[in-house]
């Protein structure tokens, strides 16, 4: 602060928490996922993650330098965007395509709209969708960890959901199957989720509602085994790390419930009726766009106030 008396409207709450500390916690929560990715998919996974994080940062830096704005890369939000985007790639993804995704995520989705806090959808998610639409073949060319059991080694578990049995459950949980590098190991993602919840960075409402609604609706839509569906595909990763983004999720608890249930419903519907690839991403993207309206209808009444018409 520059020593001037800054007068702002209430509430005057002081908190030691900064954007930087929150993003640092998210990065720490991502560590188990990153370790699993490197162990399962080799050094190429690490290469993708490092390149993506660095390029995202660089994009933000160059943009802010070019338009003479304050350099904000030290808040780590771009690193988080880059790492999450890389974790959404299959291990064989060409690096230049990933770099294109980073540029789209940081410059088009975030900086063009005014930087962190003004992005209308989650940048990493939008980057993933842009890559998914542009390079569908590369994005769905899922690599399988070399030590996966035969039953799971052909496609992602979602593609063969009908033939999965409970016997495959342990390998699903450990992530011994094909998929993008970050989504395979459910245990690592759950560990990250627990860390984020314990540190108070996210509330478990969105992931819980998301997963619960997906379970319920995929059961209603007649999925063979809804519980296995939760642990295959990008559902958990999306629910924990992408749907909970502060900027693009609702503010109130009831808003978060609507948001989570909406994501779960759309995911289940797309998985049941449209094809499994990218269902989670599109579901979260659509709900991201509805967040302003969810915020409007769940606005809390001020104490003693009249409900706004």
């Amino acid at each position: 602060m520059n020593g001037l008396l800054t007068v702002t409207p209430s509430p005057h709450i002081r908190s030691p928490r900064t954007t930087r500390s929150i993003m640092r916690d998210v990065l720490i929560a991502l560590i188990p996922v990153v370790i699993v990715a490197v162990v399962y998919f080799g050094w190429r996974a690490l290469l993708l993650i490092c390149v993506s994080g660095a390029v995202s940062c660089l994009c933000e830096f160059i943009w802010e330098k070019a338009f003479k704005k304050d350099i904000t890369i030290s808040d780590l939000s771009s690193v988080v965007t880059g790492v999450i985007l890389a974790l959404n790639m299959p291990a064989g993804m060409p690096v230049w395509e990933l770099i294109f995704g980073d540029i789209c995520a940081v410059i088009v989705v975030k900086m063009l709209f005014g930087g962190l806090g003004r992005n209308f959808v989650n940048p990493a998610l939008a980057g993933r969708i842009i890559l998914f639409v542009s390079f569908t073949a590369d994005m769905t060319n899922y690599t399988v960890p070399s030590f996966a059991p035969d039953a799971l080694s052909s496609a992602t578990p979602l593609a063969l959901e009908g033939s999965l049995t409970w016997a495959d459950f342990p390998s699903l949980l450990l992530g011994l199957h094909g998929g993008v590098i970050g989504e395979v190991c459910s245990l690592a993602i759950i560990a990250g989720c627990v860390y984020l919840c314990v540190r108070g960075v996210i509330k478990p409402i969105i992931p819980a509602c998301f997963v619960g609604a997906e379970l319920l609706f995929s059961w209603l839509f007649g999925a063979a085994n809804p519980v296995l569906g939760v642990f295959s595909g990008g559902l958990l990763f999306g629910a924990v790390f992408m749907a909970t983004d502060y900027v693009t999720s609702p503010l109130t608890n009831w808003g978060k419930v609507i948001f989570g249930v909406g994501c779960g419903f759309l995911t289940a519907a797309m998985r049941a009726f449209a094809g499994s690839n990218g269902a989670v991403s599109f579901a979260i993207l659509i709900m991201n766009l509805l967040v302003p309206y969810i915020n409007d209808i769940t606005r809390r009444k001020a104490f003693g106030g009249v409900k706004a018409k």
Partner: protein
């Protein structure tokens, strides 16, 4: 002659129909996937625009005010039918790639907009140059956008491979890529005009009908 040249240049930059007036975007977004399609569409529209502007300007004292829009549509539709037949006869491939958008020139807002805003109030010569300027402005933009989209999206130019297979960005050929390229083109033109020191006045909410407009406006004097 200076005035004629100004009218021509007006359509190219200052009142570019696509990027500044934001008219006729539908066809720009839809047809700009290949350069050939974009260029063909631009030439077809320019032809229709020039012809309809001239004829409407010729008939401007004859057409009763109350039924002017149907009259314009009939004139425009006649020329569009003409273009459609010519393209279908001599360039069947282009006809296929333009599809419904060729016939939709009838309801293209640039053509009707220039008929209403310019040709119905100005002399034949002025209307000719206005149609030519607006048409060339449209052609310039749609060709530019389609060069970028075909090069990045399909890796080709006029169907010739420039960028090797496997380095294409598929989304550029799809609607989101169209909107994105369009937005970038708009930003570049506005930035270039701002750099030249021209104040950018977004022509929002003004149909250009200064004679029938009661509002005070800085543009008003310039038109008189």
């Amino acid at each position: 002659m200076k005035r004629k040249l100004d009218i021509l240049k007006n359509g190219l930059f200052k009142e570019n129909p696509v990027l500044i007036l934001v008219l006729g975007c539908c066809s720009v977004l839809a047809v700009s996937v290949t350069v050939l399609g974009g260029l063909g569409m631009g030439i077809a529209l320019t032809f229709v625009l020039v012809c309809s502007n001239v004829v409407i300007s010729l008939l401007r004292k004859v057409i009763p005010d109350k039924v002017r829009i149907p009259c314009y549509i009939v004139i425009i539709a006649a020329f569009v039918t003409l273009v459609e037949m010519i393209v279908k006869a001599f360039l069947p491939a282009l006809y296929e790639s333009l599809g419904v958008f060729l016939s939709l020139i009838v309801v293209n807002c640039i053509v009707l907009g220039r008929a209403e805003m310019f040709a119905s109030k100005n002399t034949v010569g002025d209307s000719f140059f206005d149609g030519l300027g607006m048409g060339l402005g449209y052609t310039m933009v749609i060709t530019g956008i389609s060069i970028v989209r075909e090069l990045l999206g399909s890796g080709t130019l006029f169907g010739l491979r420039i960028i090797p297979e496997g380095f294409q960005i598929g989304i550029i050929t799809q609607p989101p890529g169209g909107f994105f390229t369009f937005g970038c083109a708009m930003a570049i033109l506005v930035a270039a005009m701002a750099k030249k020191g021209k104040k950018f006045v977004p022509p929002v909410g003004c149909g250009g009908d200064c004679a029938g407009c009661g509002a005070a406006c800085q543009e008003k004097e310039a038109v008189k």
